[in-house]
């Protein structure tokens, strides 16, 4: 039997309308985010890694720390006068671009390598670090060169330059792709793959804390740079960020940040910071 009820159309519509309204209130329409709208908001939203020590990770108290995070706090201080006015959003390598496209962050400071493909969809600012790819294997592994990887499984982090490098240049090598950095390294430790590929500096830092492994490649791919990224078209923020990076280079900020955030993790693998940092062009 059917309960004949005609007049529930309006309440149904009303409830859906209420849900839509709630969602609308939960969202904010983003115009090309000018600096003034960020100032009006009172916080600078920056996307960082939460699981990529020493660049972006979470400490014991649940706070964001790391090299990229230090830069983020400095930018917050420069724009809003207080480094606490930075809101950190943790993300994964694969969704960095999507986060910018979807207006979730103002700036990405997540070890983001500047590549031509990415430059088409986001705007990169002045670089602050150099990057190349590396491949790491367990110490007892028989693999010695890249060619040895054929027929083995390589662990990568989704959305990284490492992944796209191997997809493009070595499509025969089987990839085991993970969403998160931690998971990829855990998989390497669990022997789910014969090797792992990622940014060389990250591998140096990780290797320092995990001595049972060694790098078989440390300068793969193009000599790329890492830079902050903003949403495409956000020229005002881009210009401001450029100015900040240039200024911070001159003031030696990156050297200081290197000493406090990176050197303790690199051990003896990197002797000269200038191979890692982008120095001011005087």
């Amino acid at each position: 039997m059917k309960i004949q009820r005609q007049n529930f159309f309006l309440p149904t519509l009303a409830l859906f309308g209420a849900l839509a309204l709630l969602t609308y209130l939960g969202c904010t329409k983003k115009t090309a985010d000018s600096l003034s709208s960020i100032r009006a908001r009172g916080e600078l939203v920056i996307g960082v890694f939460g699981d990529k020590p020493p660049f972006g990770y979470i400490d014991q108290a649940g706070r964001n720390v790391g090299f990229d995070v230090a830069l983020a706090r400095e930018l917050g201080r420069a724009l809003l006068g207080d480094e606490k006015k930075v809101k950190f959003v943790t993300l994964e390598a694969a969704n960095r671009v999507a986060f910018l496209q979807a207006n979730k962050v103002d700036i990405i400071l997540a070890n983001f390598t500047n590549t031509p493909e990415r430059a088409q969809v986001v705007d990169f600012a002045e670089p602050y670090m150099r990057a190349a790819l590396g491949v790491i294997v367990p110490n007892d592994s028989p693999l010695k060169t890249l060619a040895d990887l054929k027929g083995h499984t390589l662990v990568v982090d989704k959305g990284t330059t490492a992944e796209s490098y191997f997809v493009k240049n070595y499509p025969d090598i089987e990839l085991l792709r993970f969403d998160q950095n931690t998971e990829a390294f855990q998989a390497l430790k669990d022997r789910r793959g014969a090797a792992l590929s990622h940014d060389n500096m990250l591998l140096f830092a990780w290797n320092n804390g995990n001595p049972g492994f060694r790098l078989i490649e440390s300068n793969l791919g193009n000599a790329d740079v890492i830079a902050p990224a903003v949403k495409k078209g956000n020229t005002e923020l881009l210009q401001w960020t450029n100015e900040q990076i240039v200024r911070l280079r001159k003031e030696g900020f990156f050297r200081r940040a290197y000493e406090s955030e990176l050197r303790p993790h690199f051990g003896s693998s990197i002797k000269d910071p200038s191979t890692v940092l982008v120095e001011p062009s005087t």
Binding site: A94, V97, Q101, K158, L176, F178, Q186
Partner: protein, 221 residues
């Protein structure tokens, strides 16, 4: 909203492959869950002390924990105990563990629905246990259980969408990977949605037809 159609066509083969894997995984999970469901009910009805409790404990444990946590536990937790199951193995195990508990409950509901009088009548007619099960209990139980079992099957097909978190290359894993490599976010999500429509709609429709056919017979019971 500008769609990049060439992207869609370029990656259609990738989606095909992922769809096949997803369907295969779903079917494996369904078969595994049905087996667990039947065995669980058979075990439950054995005159063993603690059989019911054991089955009930399993059902409650599996039903009240999310698949996400189960998969992470199997794939990232067990290696520290020396157990290194592959992503696919963990996915099938996890889905079967969860689905099996759902199937046990659905089949149990079907079995419970068979009236006592039917069993008594069958026994008084001199039917053997086997004949009783095959001709009296199972047909009626199946008809009652089918909607629940069908719903579980669809549920399992949909739950496969989570296995990407342990690097199983299913549809969701592929889509997120494509977004990470090529940045075509909503083109990728569109293909994903279409793929699920393609997979679930026919399954849902086929099971609904099956239900209707069984119910047709019961109208005259």
């Amino acid at each position: 909203m500008v769609f990049d159609l060439s992207f869609l066509t370029r990656h259609l083969p990738d989606f095909e492959r992922a769809l096949l894997l997803t369907v295969g995984l779903g079917v494996a999970a369904i078969v595994g869950s049905l087996v667990v469901g039947l065995l669980g009910n058979a075990f439950r009805n054995l005159p063993l002390p603690g059989a019911r409790l054991a089955v009930r404990s399993y059902v409650e444990l599996a039903r009240n924990t999310p698949l996400l946590v189960q998969l992470f536990f199997l794939y990232f937790g067990l290696p520290s105990l020396g157990i290194h199951w592959s992503g696919l193995t963990c996915a099938i195990l996890g889905l079967t563990f969860l689905g099996g508990s759902y199937m046990i409950e659905s089949i149990r509901a079907g079995l419970d629905a068979v009236k006592k009088e039917q069993i008594e009548a069958g026994l008084s007619l001199g039917l053997s246990r086997f004949q009783l099960v095959r001709h009296v209990i199972l047909p009626q139980a199946l008809a009652t259980a089918l909607p629940g079992v069908a719903a579980n099957c669809i549920f399992l097909l949909k739950e496969t969408s989570i296995v990407g978190i342990i690097a199983v290359p299913d549809l969701m894993h592929l889509t997120l990977g494509l977004i990470g490599l090529y940045y075509k976010t909503y083109e990728s999500l569109l293909l994903l949605t279409l793929a699920y429509l393609l997979m679930i709609l026919p399954a849902s429709w086929a099971l609904a037809r099956l239900e209707r056919r069984l119910r047709y017979g019961r109208q005259f019971a």
